[in-house]
Symmetry: C2
Subunit: 251 residues, 2 copies
């Protein structure tokens, strides 16, 4: 592979990604010895997590500094940051969380200049989509699957044009069938997940298959164990996300 | 090994433990594929972290429930809990943090019935000692190395008598040479560390060699990266502690 875009923006086909997620789940339970070789993050790499409440995870929004436990929240960004900072041991690395509870694609779009482009991340992880359907089900939003696709594609293209060297990671939106998640979510939730996967493939971005990962996890442990309300992960769920995100991206 | 006490309370000799810590540090940087087989934690295992501010790590003391991210703080107990809950995937497992900032051995002793014995942990991790010297250097305490040894031994023996089936993990107190830690701490800090190691050997308890681990880490990365004031770990430092604690205990 001589095209740097191919190595930088590895696309993982859906089936391979699902297999990776399954291996992450079953492997971790068995006492994983299958940690991949770590991809090199350049010295002083900037890693940014973007998204909604799942990413936000109770972070202190007044703490703007990098690598601060409070500013990183109590979710998968903080857990992943703790591993990156430990294993890369690079004092010039910077990890930020800019997820905001309740956000949908149009909310990210409005704050993208300050909260993403200006930060110039080397690795950008985005998890967005669950509020785009949840708020619609609640009657607080009228965006369709097509709105989600159009808006998300535009956001990703804008990012790729502004930050051509940035590795963009598209996290698959997910729900677990418990708590607030009932039959009304389907099949639209599946259609929206398919959009995220389609955009990752179309734009040759890394996809992290969180739905496949949780589908595997609930085969042996009740969904409430991983996300009490079906949307917001428990500590165990966030840990599984951090683990799979790291395995899939190799950072 | 047919004696259950030997398998339950594995004593790791200092040299082997230091080698493990070194491997944990260097291995994790290289992209570790040397995860040990996980020891079986019985279904419904109760894991308790005890100690001072390093263990407390800003936990919400009003949240008494198990496995709650806020109640577990922002330090190594929460990071380790996130991995245990993920990998063991046991809905009946309970992980608690009862570290309290500023505590010394006599403070643990006063609250031991309610904050340890009544919880009946299957695994009990204790990290105590840095305030026993720090508060003495500050003129707020007059305990000596001998006081530390006598008090700590009594606390451990009391625990072993009350909870004979509990696996007790003695974490080596540590400091890094930066921030608040200057020459006045030595050699007394070394003497106090030696007490913790001696008690672990004497009582056949697992020792987690945090000082050896940090000594290895600072060979390549400045001490401030792991603990800004030389006493309280950063997120990277806490992550290294969680990683080493898990490797050494095998849980």
């Amino acid at each position: 592979m001589t095209d740097p875009n191919l190595s930088r923006r590895t696309f993982l086909a859906a089936s391979a990604a699902a297999a990776t997620a399954a291996a992450a789940v079953s492997g971790s339970k068995a006492g994983a010895d299958d940690e991949p070789e770590r991809a090199k993050l350049k010295e002083g790499a900037v890693v940014l997590f973007q998204g909604d409440s799942i990413t936000d995870a109770g972070r202190n929004r007044n703490a703007k500094g990098a690598n601060n436990a409070g500013a990183l929240g109590r979710g998968y960004p903080m857990l992943l940051a703790s591993e990156l900072l430990r294993d890369h041991a690079d004092p010039s690395m910077k990890v930020f969380n800019r997820g905001i509870s309740g956000n949908k694609v149009p909310d990210l779009d409005k704050r993208w200049e300050a909260d993403c482009l200006a930060i110039k991340p080397d690795v950008l992880s985005i998890l967005i989509g669950v509020n785009d359907i949840w708020h619609k089900l609640n009657g607080r939003y009228d965006g369709t699957v097509e709105t989600y696709e159009t808006g998300y594609r535009a956001l990703l293209k804008r990012t790729m044009e502004s930050l051509p060297a940035t590795r963009i990671v598209v996290c698959e939106p997910f729900v677990l069938k418990c708590g607030a998640v009932d039959d009304k979510w389907f099949p639209e939730m599946d259609d929206r997940r398919a959009v995220a996967r389609k955009l990752a493939e179309e734009l040759k971005l890394t996809l992290v298959p969180f739905q496949a990962m949780f589908d595997e996890a609930v085969k042996t442990t009740p969904p409430q164990y991983w996300a009490g309300d079906g949307v917001h992960p428990t500590l165990a769920g966030h840990s599984l996300m951090a683990h799979t995100c790291r395995k899939v991206t190799g950072i």
